[in-house]
Amino acid sequence: MSSAMWIAVIVSAVGTLLMRLLPMLWMRRRLARLDHDEGIDAMPQWLGILGPLMIAAVLGTSLVPKAPDGISWLATGIGVLATLGVWWRTRTLGWPVAAGVAAFGAVVVLASWVI
């Protein structure tokens, strides 16, 4: 890798780190300036709204299968239902994920045998 390419990697890395780090320092100062007891209420309202919505957006993008054919969409739908079903019963993080992957995998494997 050339020196110019190394510089490009380092600038990209430092830039990405600063985008993750500087807003945290800004928010910490803001929280420190305001009353400590206010906690979450000291956050700008738009930030409090955007946080959960960003997670929902990441969910939306990750739902699209790598090979978006009929079988993959069917597997995704069944995987989602399995995840939701187990979450509804257990209210945990790990088991619903395991159940979702197992259901998704079962559909994919079955389809690969049938087709």
Binding site: P23, M43, G51, A57, L93, P96, G100, F104
Partner: protein, 243 residues
């Protein structure tokens, strides 16, 4: 891996690592793909691993090696890489109310990816203050290490792995949407939030299907925020509250 508030445990970093395990289902196959793509683009295995360790941002890394291999001007490569990662600016402020006074936090922000943010945004508020740094350190460094290890594996043996277990690379990434689903569902607490979250998920899905993958997250979140505000602006019917 309960989502309820937990009593203090002696090793919060271990809890963090355990709760980050579902992330690996998505991280490792994608990291293997990145290692493979980087080798095919002319980078060495060491260079691919260093890019993963230093930049640590999935989509932008693929763009970086792709544009560099295509001979694009390096300033453009850097600008595009940073543009894709600009969504990260809203993550840390959302976690800030639950961060303690430790000087370790700024360094740990290097590991604040989409997935780690989603997990931490749900779990940090549930943890006692004394356990948050340990938990985040365990979860974030474990995810980072898996990304680096996956890249190395992909760079060194990616072609053989993909040929031998083609279905594994197709099945394991479902761990990510399953995890995000579990993180999002408890937030459907009111009609207002339900509408905004549903619209966000559908917008992101549609944008990704139509090829706007890199714009999908910020645009979908903006759509959801507009919906959230619009529902608030409507005159309250029958005296109902939406929050």
């Amino acid at each position: 891996m309960s989502q309820q508030a937990v009593s203090p445990t002696p090793r919060p970093w271990l809890t963090g690592m355990r709760e980050a395990i579902p992330l690996l289902g998505g991280y490792v196959p994608v990291a293997i793909s990145f290692g493979l793509v980087a080798i095919q683009a002319g980078f060495t295995a060491q260079e691919a691993v260093l890019i993963s360790a230093l930049v640590y941002a999935g989509a932008s890394q693929f763009l970086f090696v792709g544009m560099a291999a295509a001979g694009s001007p390096l300033w453009l490569v850097v600008v595009m890489t940073l543009l894709i990662n600009v969504r990260h600016v809203v993550y840390a402020p959302n976690l800030a109310p639950w961060l303690t006074a430790s000087r370790g936090w700024p360094w740990l922000m290097h590991a604040l990816t989409d997935q780690v943010f989603a997990l931490a945004h749900t779990r940090l508020p549930q943890l006692p203050e004394t356990q948050r740094l340990g938990w985040f350190t365990g979860a974030a460094l474990f995810a980072w290490a898996s990304w680096i290890a996956g890249t190395a594996l992909g760079a060194l043996a990616g072609e053989e792995l993909m040929a031998r277990w083609p279905l594994l690379g197709e099945i394991m990434p479902f761990a990510l949407p399953a995890l995000f689903l579990v993180l999002v569902v408890p937030r459907f607490t009111s009609r207002r939030w339900s509408l905004a979250l549903s619209l966000t998920v559908l917008s992101a899905l549609t944008l990704t299907v139509t090829g706007f993958t890199n714009l999908a997250i910020p645009l979908a979140a903006a759509c959801g925020a507009l919906c959230f505000q619009a529902v608030k602006c409507r005159p309250a019917a029958k005296g109902t509250r939406h929050e």
